[in-house]
């Protein structure tokens, strides 16, 4: 499978912020938060086009989200804060209380799998051993 390694950063976006207030179980929230923003050349490399699904994996977990082209450097990818990004982040804070929300190594590949719904995300959390 064609995958590429990136540094994954998560953060706030306007759309995420507005859809938060619409309700986290709303479709807007999923549409605006279950996404990853990538450099266009990185998208070409893994064979993914705008709004197509990609699987993002780290040592700690994985999630399927839609990809979006963005003005970001090659080798960096950005996800809005939210339960999809949370699947990929370690709960080990190295004694600081703060997880590494920004700067996790991740692998991204194109996929035919569906984007996880909020209900799926909750189920996945329940299944963690």
């Amino acid at each position: 499978m064609n995958y590429m390694k990136v540094i994954l950063i998560s953060g706030r976006t306007t759309k995420q912020g507005i859809s938060l207030e619409m309700g986290k179980t709303s479709e807007e929230y999923s549409n605006n938060v279950a996404v990853i923003m990538m450099n266009e050349n990185d998208m070409k490399k893994i064979g993914a086009k705008e709004d197509e699904h990609v699987e993002v994996r780290t040592k700690f977990g994985s999630a399927v989200v839609r990809c979006k082209e963005s003005r970001i450097d090659r080798g960096i990818a950005f996800m809005p804060y939210g339960p999809w990004a949370n699947m990929m982040i370690s709960a080990d804070t190295q004694g600081t209380g703060m997880p590494d929300y920004k700067g996790v190594e991740a692998k991204i590949s194109a996929t035919d799998k569906d984007v996880l719904t909020i209900a799926n995300v909750i189920e996945r959390i329940k299944e963690i051993k």
Binding site: T14, G23, T25, P83, T93, P99, I125, K126
Partner: protein, 423 residues
């Protein structure tokens, strides 16, 4: 009714010039607000939680008394309860939460541990030359945004305080200010800046240290992807401005060196004060997260991550911070108030909330309420009940009530739980 000078409690800017127009029991219009704020006011009645208890695996609606009674029972019985959240409520509720924590010997933590916790640790280490947003508005001629994106997270910061407003000594507004943005990627904030400096991910500490060396006159060369000339040019601007300010965000607190990144920034500002007036302020996120630190500090002596199991407060981020307690599966019950850890914590930490009885007090249905044992809805502070909130620069502002609510304020709910725990 038209209500003027209403405080928006959504983000740490706490804009206090919002106009809210109500028609009967609904909010009909909001003026002066940013997109987030409009969405918050106009959608306040949407997606409201109900009083729920999980019975046979399903959340079912119950009378308020039953939800309060059951919540008190759970907290009373627990050996190591966790109380977490507090950033989206007002100071009286925060104070009641501390009282409850002391009563039941809980660990109490606020959302600071996953936003500016590292900032507080750094300030405790070396102090901070802070200032109010009013001083920025009236005096600042060099504004540096580092690892933050106010254009998308604190939308009116630029127009009210930091980029365009005209003030006492900043009569020429935008023209009289030099704006710099330092970040790992270009964002809407970079477009508002005169200079954008791209730092390599995870290398902020190096760059900040290079600035400190350059301020002391050393030739530092290219650092963290930033050319030597840019560093020299910026250091000149920093030393020669009349009033400089660095606003920094989670780009410093959430990457690699965490509190050490902030430490380097605070020390850079301290060094710059040998040359001119320079200040530094964290861009606090949630409306009253700053208040949760102040309230916990005046009640317990410590701003977050406090444990009461010995009967007196003990502070230790990394040990008594919520993510760590959950990841180590230490707590045997949790009370989550005015925040949504399942939406924001690493999934590995949220998982423990599924295993233990979790009580959620929140106005809205959120992701944590989907996995909770008990859900108790509350009135929205600053819309449906009054109170006090602290702005990101530590200025307390009075919140007003603009619409009646069928729900109790957080402080009342906590008071009733405390009464039942004591009974």
């Amino acid at each position: 009714m038209i209500y003027k000078n209403i405080v928006c409690t959504l983000c740490g800017c706490l804009c206090d010039d919002i106009e809210v127009v109500t028609e009967g029991e609904r909010i009909a219009d909001v003026k002066n607000a940013c997109e987030f704020s409009r969405s918050k006011f106009l959608n306040h009645a949407k997606d409201r939680a109900k009083h729920l208890i999980k019975k046979n695996g399903k959340l079912v609606e119950v009378p308020i008394e039953e939800a309060l009674g059951e919540a008190a029972e759970i907290l009373k019985k627990a050996d190591f309860p966790l109380i977490y959240g507090l950033s989206s409520t007002e100071t009286d509720a925060q104070r009641m939460a501390v009282e409850l924590a002391e009563l039941i010997g809980a660990s109490i933590d606020n959302t600071t541990s996953v936003c500016h916790g590292p900032t507080i640790q750094a300030v405790q280490d070396c102090g901070a030359a802070k200032c109010t947003l009013g001083e920025v508005r009236n005096r600042a001629d060099l504004v540096i945004f580092w690892g933050c994106n106010p254009a998308e997270a604190h939308i009116r910061h630029a127009t009210r305080y930091s980029i365009t407003p005209r003030g006492l000594y900043t009569e020429s507004g935008r023209k009289g200010r030099e704006i710099v943005h330092v970040d790992v990627r270009e964002t809407k904030t970079s477009k508002m800046a005169d200079i954008f400096v791209k730092v390599k991910p995870g290398r902020d500490y190096e760059l900040l240290s290079a600035f400190r060396a350059a301020v002391k006159g050393y030739d530092v060369g290219d650092v963290a992807g930033v050319p030597s000339e840019t560093i020299t040019q910026l250091v000149e601007k920093m030393k020669s401005c009349k009033f400089g300010v660095i606003f920094f965000g989670l780009g410093l607190t959430m990457t690699g060196a965490k509190h050490m990144n902030v430490d380097a920034a605070l020390r850079l500002v301290r060094d710059l004060n040998d040359h001119t007036k320079f200040t530094i302020n964290p861009m606090r996120g949630h409306g009253n997260v700053s208040g949760s630190n102040d309230v916990m500090t005046w009640c317990t002596g410590y701003p977050f991550a406090v444990n009461f199991s010995k009967g007196y407060p003990v502070y230790n981020p990394g040990e008594f911070s919520a993510v760590d307690i959950l990841a180590r599966r230490e707590c045997d019950a949790a009370l989550i108030i005015a925040s949504d850890p399942v939406a924001h914590f690493p999934a590995q930490a949220s998982e423990h909330l599924v295993r233990i009885p979790t009580i959620v007090i929140d106005p809205k249905i959120n992701l944590t309420s989907l996995i909770a044992k008990i859900v108790i809805p509350s009135a929205i502070a600053g819309i449906e009940c009054d109170g006090t909130a602290y702005r990101m620069d530590g200025i307390p502002l009075r919140l007003k009530k603009v619409i009646d609510s069928e729900f109790l304020p957080d402080r009342e709910i906590l008071k009733k739980i405390i009464e039942r725990v004591k009974a």
